[in-house]
Structure formats: structure tokens, C-alpha cells
Point group: C2
């Protein structure tokens, strides 16, 4: 749990990615953040969506999981919970970086050209970890799409869509075109393949094929099966990913 949270906090803080600080702006020029974390040992999850005053939504998602009777909070209600749970609220402007402000100013004219932005491999972030006790945790965090309507929620914070973890199956985190990922409930589909005994890499590839076949969508995912074998697949031009082996060595970093 700590490893997934820490990894995602680093990515949220890095304006390279569309999560936390430096995320895409919505139609109204504001950053709206979504995140989820899920514990495969208990199937508990914490999720937040459409929060504008929380610098690290993955921390808030964890707070929801650990100290809220509910599993998902959205909007100002989620921010009220954050404040009550002791997480500092930030001014909304603090989440905006100059690059995205400029990109938004061009996009809002009507031409959402990808050249205004970093390319899709700088999108949604996620992490999956398995500890020595076999406890598997997955998490996902995003700023969503540029110029999205206020209140838009994509796949990322939705349990089974952008994230899923189950010690009987594995842990999965997805990125890509949210509405397509939602159509096939992608993370749960990949987890169910792992549950049925699929090889980790095969399960990842099958999930992307399902996304393309049934939802005509582009995206990708990272996963660990319940034994810690990794799988990565995507049908976008690129997806940045990495894998750290049990001995701490970095086996994959693309």
C-alpha cells in the first residue's frame, strides 16, 4: 500500500504526467483530479473524482479506503472529507502548470491538436505492488482529458475500469481512452483472465485486444499476477512503464 501510494505521489508531483500537478485543464480552465487505490486482500478500495483542491488525490483515495465508511467520494464532498481527515486543501491554481495553461488556451479555440500537449504516454499514471505476504495493491491517478466538461469522470477512479486488485487474481492499472475502457470494464476483465490462470503477459495482451475489438479503443495496462509476474500491453503509440524485481533491481523501464 505504501509503495503504490509513494510511486503515484512521485508521478502526481511530476508535471510530465497527466495526474496531480500539471494535469490537463478542463473546459473552464481548472484542474479536476481522479484517483483510486485498491487492496486485493480485502477488496477494499478508496476512490475520489472531480476534486480541485487536493494536490495528491491518491493520498485522499487512501484516506477514503482506510477511514471512510464509503468507497467513493466526488466533488466538493470529497474535498470536505479531505479537510476533515486532515489532508491539506490547496488553492486550485496550485495544480496548474504553464505548459498546460498554454495548451488549454489553444485547445479551447476548438482545435484539440495533440501537438499542443505532451503525447499520450505522458497521461494517466498507475502502480501495482505485491508484498512478501502476497498482498497485492493497485492504484491509478489522472487529470482526465483536456477541455473535458466539468464533472467528467473517466475510467481511472472507477473500480474495475481503471483499476482492480484481488489476491485471487492479480492487480491491474489502466490508461487510455476512458470511455472505451469503461465499456469493457477493462481492469476487471484482465483480472478475471488472471483468475482463470492466464499468463500475466497474455492477460495484458488479451485485455488490449478486447479493448480494441469491443470498444474500438486505444489504451494500455500494467498488471501483476498473484505470483508477481508482470504484464504490460498497449495499442497506443507508446506507454511508459517499468518493473522492479523482488531483489530491487529494475528489470524493465521503457
Amino acid at each position: 500500500m505504501d509503495a503504490v501510494e509513494a510511486a503515484i505521489v512521485v508521478l502526481e508531483e511530476d508535471p510530465t504526467f497527466d495526474a496531480g500537478f500539471g494535469s490537463h485543464l478542463n473546459r473552464d480552465g481548472r484542474v479536476e483530479l481522479d484517483a483510486i487505490i485498491m487492496d486485493g486482500a480485502t477488496l477494499n478500495a478508496g476512490a475520489v473524482a472531480s476534486v480541485e483542491r487536493v494536490r495528491n488525490p491518491i493520498r485522499l483515495a487512501r484516506k477514503v479506503m482506510e477511514s471512510c465508511e464509503h468507497m467513493m467520494l466526488v466533488g466538493t464532498g470529497a474535498e470536505q472529507f479531505a479537510a476533515a481527515a486532515g489532508l491539506p486543501l490547496c488553492p486550485p491554481e496550485e495544480l496548474i502548470c504553464e505548459r498546460e495553461k498554454k495548451a488549454w488556451a489553444k485547445c479551447i479555440q476548438g482545435d484539440h491538436l495533440s501537438e499542443f500537449h505532451f503525447s499520450p504516454q505522458h497521461g494517466t499514471v498507475g502502480a501495482v505492488a505485491l508484498d512478501m505476504q502476497g498482498r497485492i495493491v493497485a492504484g491509478t491517478s489522472t487529470g482526465g482529458t483536456c477541455c473535458k466538461l466539468p464533472g467528467r469522470v473517466g475510467d481511472s477512479p472507477l473500480i474495475g475500469c481503471g483499476c482492480y486488485a484481488d489476491i485471487e487474481a492479480g492487480g491491474v492499472s489502466c490508461t487510455g481512452w476512458g470511455e472505451a475502457i469503461m465499456k469493457v470494464v477493462l481492469a476487471k476483465s484482465a483480472a478475471d483472465d488472471l483468475r482463470s490462470g492466464a499468463n500475466a503477459q497474455e492477460a495484458a495482451e488479451a485485455a488490449v485486444q478486447l479493448l480494441a475489438r469491443r470498444a474500438k479503443g486505444a489504451g494500455g495496462l500494467i498488471l501483476l499476477d498473484r505470483n508477481g509476474h508482470p504484464g504490460f500491453a498497449f495499442n497506443t503509440p507508446h506507454m511508459a512503464y517499468g518493473y522492479v524485481a523482488p531483489d530491487g533491481s529494475i528489470v524493465t523501464a521503457v
Copy 2:
């Protein structure tokens, strides 16, 4: 699509059920509504959550599905979209009935006794329909739990959790303890059983067993397989349900 929307509008308007007018109040004494509708032919869905000024959230969910680039909108953003799409906004007070106002006044003291409310069979509402062309549609609408924190989203409006439809599988709508239903992504799980060829009633019962086994949860679901065979199951004391056969006769009404 019309049949599912119309059935759910009737149930939303009836204060007997925890959906639309007469829903449970949240901690702050306000009604917050969630709904989803999904088209199994395209896997498109429209979902809204945490809306306070829309009398029939299932109508708004359909508007999102049919005329929004996104699949899910929450909070004030969803209300802004409603207004822009021509759906009238209502004063929040219009959604409150006297019975729930009194129940809330007792619950907020700290004792959330079920005797303050109608029993759980008067909860979340849903409908599934199959037309002559084999197009299957499912929908779900709810007011959520009494005294929920503002912004809480349960299973109902989440694709794969409270609702799922796929012409290759069937259509499913769930009710019950939201956080438990979310853990096992219940509607998608039932649909996947149908996809694998399970009998409709067996798939419904297996889903409730999964809910009890993995999430220690109480709930129920209605479903139609892709050939129109119905299934109903629940592990709550009661669940109201009905089935209308292709010739228009009411076969089941409990």
C-alpha cells in the same frame, strides 16, 4: 431504451423507492441522486452521480449517453450539462418527501435504525429490457444511503457495478449494499456468467453467492440473458421485482 427509461422514471417519481423524489437524505439533509443507463448493442452508457437539482436522473443519464462526448458526469458539472441539454433543473427541496425528512431527523442523531425507513426492498430501482431486434438495455437509479457523506457514490451509477448490458451476454441491474457490490463489480460478473452460457436464473444466483462469499455483502439483482430469459436473486430479506413477457403478460410480480 424508451422502456427502461420510462420504467425507471415511474419508480423515481414514486416516493416508495429510494430514487428520485422521496430518496434518503444525505448527512446534510439534501437529496443526492445517481443513475446510469447502458445500451448493450454499442456498450455506450450514460451515468450521473451526486446531482441535487435533477428530478429524473435516469433522463439525464440518457442525455449523457446520447449527446455528451463523455460517459459519466458528476456534481454541479452534471447539472450544468443538464441545463445545457435542455433538461429542467428543480429546486433541491422538491426532491424531499416528509417521510424521509422525519427519518433523517432521527437518523442524524446517531441511530440509523432501519425502522425509521421503509425496508431495503424499497431501495434502488432498476430495469432491463430486450427489444425485437435483440438490443438489450439496462438502467439503475438511486438516492443512495441515508445520512451518506456528501459526494458519496455507491455502486448504482458505476458501469459494471450497479449496471451492465452487452448483447453478447445480457443486461443486469443491481441493488443492495453499494460498497460490497463494488468490490466484486457485480453486474459485470453476472454478465460474464451469461456470456459463458450460464442459465439466466443460475447466473443471478451465482452473482449473489459471489457477493456474499467475497464481499460479505447483501444485495440482489435482476437480469435478462441475450435471449430474454429473466433471472432474479437476492440475499436481502426481500426484493420487489417483476417480469413482463414478450406478449405483454405480467409473468412475475413480487
